[in-house]
């Protein structure tokens, strides 16, 4: 007789209980596992002294599994097939309170699966639910298979459902069952990100103006029309600036193991160039101001395919095509160090095309997406501008970033170490280069690629970092310490107090080959310190960060370089 397929755990269990010694071992290990798992903090354990029920002979036998559609019922107690017990509660063999004292003989309860039925789904299609369930018609179904519970959590993890319950009901003939999956759907529009802050920018003439506010929001429908596809949109607004993006993600393209993504973007933005004493020649004539403005529009998108290489590793390949329309002064100069130099805006005047191919390898073993306590998150990205495909920008980029989290042995505190290094060669447009505000917490970072702030970095180390706005080389080494303040299971899952500190550097080719005049020694190395303090909140609506570095960034710290810029 052919044995049906069983789970590894059930196979191991049969081996363990094949002898009285094995039975005793299993009992001891089960009890120990429960004790250890339930209360690891407990100091001592109860000695395994004989209890009042021990020593009784097993009254329930474990039979071998068989492919016949017959559950492995306990032979001495099970009602005979076709008896009245199969159809009602008035079992002639089993009294309502019949009890036996038995040894630790486990029962492998298995059925043959007649089908899988999905109930309660009003929007989500049944085939989307079944993607996450590995059981199929004709399978031998072991009720103790851990894959059952794992499948339930897989479905909960999609975010499509508020509740998921599995149950069995009788099939068409004895021993056959139908796996019923009851789901309760939940709203699948989620808030991915909200950003608010204050920035110092300039008016359309490049002159400094009072502080202005900026904001960004990102929402997504993660189960579009019940197909499991994510469609998200994001918007960022500031004075005279607007950024819009729409994103699409199909985690199982045409039911395969490949993922596909697509992005559409539109930026109507501007950026601020020049350190100090900016002179410009624009169509309205020569003028001086504190910044030379680049006004630009970007419109385009990207498509990508990805695949899980393992449970923690993904590979993505993305192609991007953008149309860029930029305008800026015909000529402009500024003080770089103590010397007046021309401003290189690093973007083609008028219309241009950006076409790139990017590959990303991502490894993620974090135990939590927002408040991780252990694990790695590392990514390697390579990007190349596709000049033959009508691109006006030929460049190559390579980036490596890695973060590791440690769960410290005292009070669940967490330590994070973060490393980033990137290099660009060629003629990348300025918005593709590294921006100091993305590395310094004291300046607003770009949102959807839009820059809101004209200020240089704070310059704690008194280096020529104040002369750098965009660069082709960047690194960052930072650490973060987190202290849990609250853990819950309702609307707020966790609040942590965090403090971070690090060092970063951003440099262009010119900062390396021809450092600004007026700096000497180590001050010619464009590096600076960064830090932040605030709260991280993990809520049912998403993760939020309340940080104070944005406000602290307005406290002047050695704000003047040799050129007197700020």
């Amino acid at each position: 007789m052919q044995r049906p397929r069983g789970s590894a755990s059930s196979r191991n269990r049969r081996a363990l209980v094949s002898s009285p010694v094995g039975r005793g071992f299993e009992l001891a290990s089960a009890a120990l596992t429960l004790l250890l798992a339930a209360q690891s903090a407990f100091a001592e354990s109860v000695p395994a002294s004989p209890g009042p029920d021990s020593g009784a002979a097993p009254a329930v036998a474990t039979g071998d599994a068989s492919p016949a559609p017959e559950p492995l019922a306990p032979e001495p107690l099970a009602p005979a097939p076709g008896s009245s017990a199969a159809s009602g509660r008035d079992c002639p063999c089993l009294g309502p309170e019949l009890e036996t004292r038995a040894g630790p003989t486990p029962l492998a309860v298995r059925y043959t699966l007649e089908g899988v039925e999905v109930r309660g789904n009003t929007r989500t299609r049944a085939h989307v639910v079944l993607r996450y369930v590995p059981f199929k018609q004709g399978d031998v179904f072991d009720v103790d298979d851990p894959e059952v519970e794992l499948s339930r959590y897989r479905l909960l993890g999609t975010g499509f459902f508020r509740d998921v319950q599995f149950s069995l009901r009788k099939g068409s003939s004895r021993g056959w069952v139908v796996l019923v999956i009851d789901v309760v759907e939940r709203p699948t529009i989620v808030l991915n990100d909200v950003r608010m802050g204050i920035s110092a920018d300039a008016d359309t003439q490049g002159n400094r103006r009072p502080l202005t506010a900026y904001a960004g929001v990102d929402v997504a429908e993660t189960n579009l029309l019940g197909t499991g596809i994510t469609l998200g949109s994001a918007m960022a607004v500031a004075q005279d600036q607007l950024a819009l993006r729409v994103r699409f993600l199909d985690p199982t393209f045409l039911g395969s193991s490949w993922m596909t993504s697509g992005t559409l973007l539109y930026n109507d933005a501007r950026d601020f160039f020049g350190n100090a004493a900016v002179l410009k020649d624009d169509p309205s004539g020569n003028s001086s101001s504190e910044s030379a403005l680049v006004s630009y529009k970007r419109f385009g998108g990207s498509v990508g395919v990805g695949r899980d290489l393992s449970i923690a590793t993904q590979f993505w390949l993305n192609y991007r095509l953008e149309s860029i329309d930029a305008s800026y002064p015909l000529e402009a100069s500024h003080m770089r160090g103590f010397r007046t130099e021309p401003i290189d805006f690093d973007v083609v005047r008028g219309h241009s095309v950006l076409s790139t191919l990017r590959a990303t390898l991502d490894h993620d073993t974090r135990d939590h997406p927002f408040l991780p306590t252990r694990g790695w998150h590392a990514a390697v990205t390579a990007e190349v501008g596709l000049l033959p495909v009508a691109s006006d920008y030929e460049y190559q980029r390579i980036e490596v970033e890695a973060s590791h989290w440690w769960h410290l042995p005292w009070h669940d505190h967490v330590l994070r170490l973060e490393l980033f290094a990137g290099a660009i060669s060629g003629d990348a447009p300025f918005f593709e280069q590294y921006y100091v505000g993305d590395f310094s917490d004291f300046l607003p970072s770009r949102v959807l690629g839009v820059n809101f702030d004209r200020r240089p970095a704070p310059n704690f180390l008194n280096t020529d970092i104040v002369e750098v706005r965009y660069g082709k080389y960047a690194f960052k080494l930072a650490t973060e310490y987190r202290i849990p303040l609250f853990r819950g299971h309702r609307s707020i899952y966790g609040i942590d107090l965090f403090a971070s500190a690090g060092i970063y550097g951003v440099a262009g080719s010119r900062d390396i080959t021809s450092p600004p005049v007026g700096y000497s020694g180590w001050s010619r190395v464009p590096v600076d310190l960064t830090g932040n303090v605030g709260f991280r909140m993990d809520t049912s609506a998403g993760g939020f960060v309340f940080a104070f570095s944005n406000v602290l960034g307005f406290i002047p710290v050695r704000g003047k370089g040799p050129a007197g810029g700020q």
Binding site: L27, A31, T33, L35, A38, Q39, E44, V46, P47, S49, P50, G51, P52, D53, S54, P79, A85, C91, L94, P96, E97, E99, T100, R101, P104, L107, V109, V143, E149, L150, L156, G157, Q165, L168, R169, V177, N192, I198, P210, L211, R247, G306, T360, D364, R366, D367, P369, E399, F420, Y435, D438, V447, G488, H489, R490, I492, F535, M537, F554, G559
Partner: protein
Amino acid sequence: MVNRGSNPKSSWRFWLTALVSLALAMACLLCAGRADAEESSSEVVTRDAHFDWDADAGLLYLDLSFRDLIDATLQSKLSRGLPTTIVLTATVSHAGSTRPLSTTAQTCKVTWHVWEEAYLVEVIRPGSSRQSWTTTTEGVIRRCTEVRHLLAGDALQIPAGVTLVAAGKIQVNPVSAELLQKIKRWVMRPSATGTAAPGDALFSTFTGLFLQRIGDAERQQKFTTRVLVPTIIHSRSQ
């Protein structure tokens, strides 16, 4: 020093924005505190219990009931055909002390046999295991939630004649650490759909709100008992 804030209007706006941000942060923290209060109020319940001290064998036994935990929702789950496990773990301490003297546990696994239309109840205790069949939910509840004569310590651990208190938790379908880790890794979706470069602050990939809801068990209740003096019994005379 750099002359910032010379414009009184900009200074006014700055401080207003800072004040609003601070107010928002405080509001969130207050909400968190409220949630904390809600949860803590239902976290630890006081349960009636009873200790027996077997003077002949030098063993301490615990009697405890938690019938109320098995509400209608859980009762309906019992007959779903998949195993339901109810685990009681407890520590015994001196009254007024948090240092445990001993620990004990009971596991009750209930499996509804779909074709037999009966529940198989397996109760595992320190040093013993019992399997029984019942066709009624009441039979299941009695076997799993009315804990009688649960070995909770011996003479080496528990000094005679002292007042004791038991504390612990009851879990329904506890999730093993291994399975929990497996679930979390599966649910986690790396945020690699965008660029790895800084500057793309939005579009951090949504990674599953339910990850945080996966706790140690499907349902959990912490409990403590009142201060109790064990009743002396003599097993040999019985």
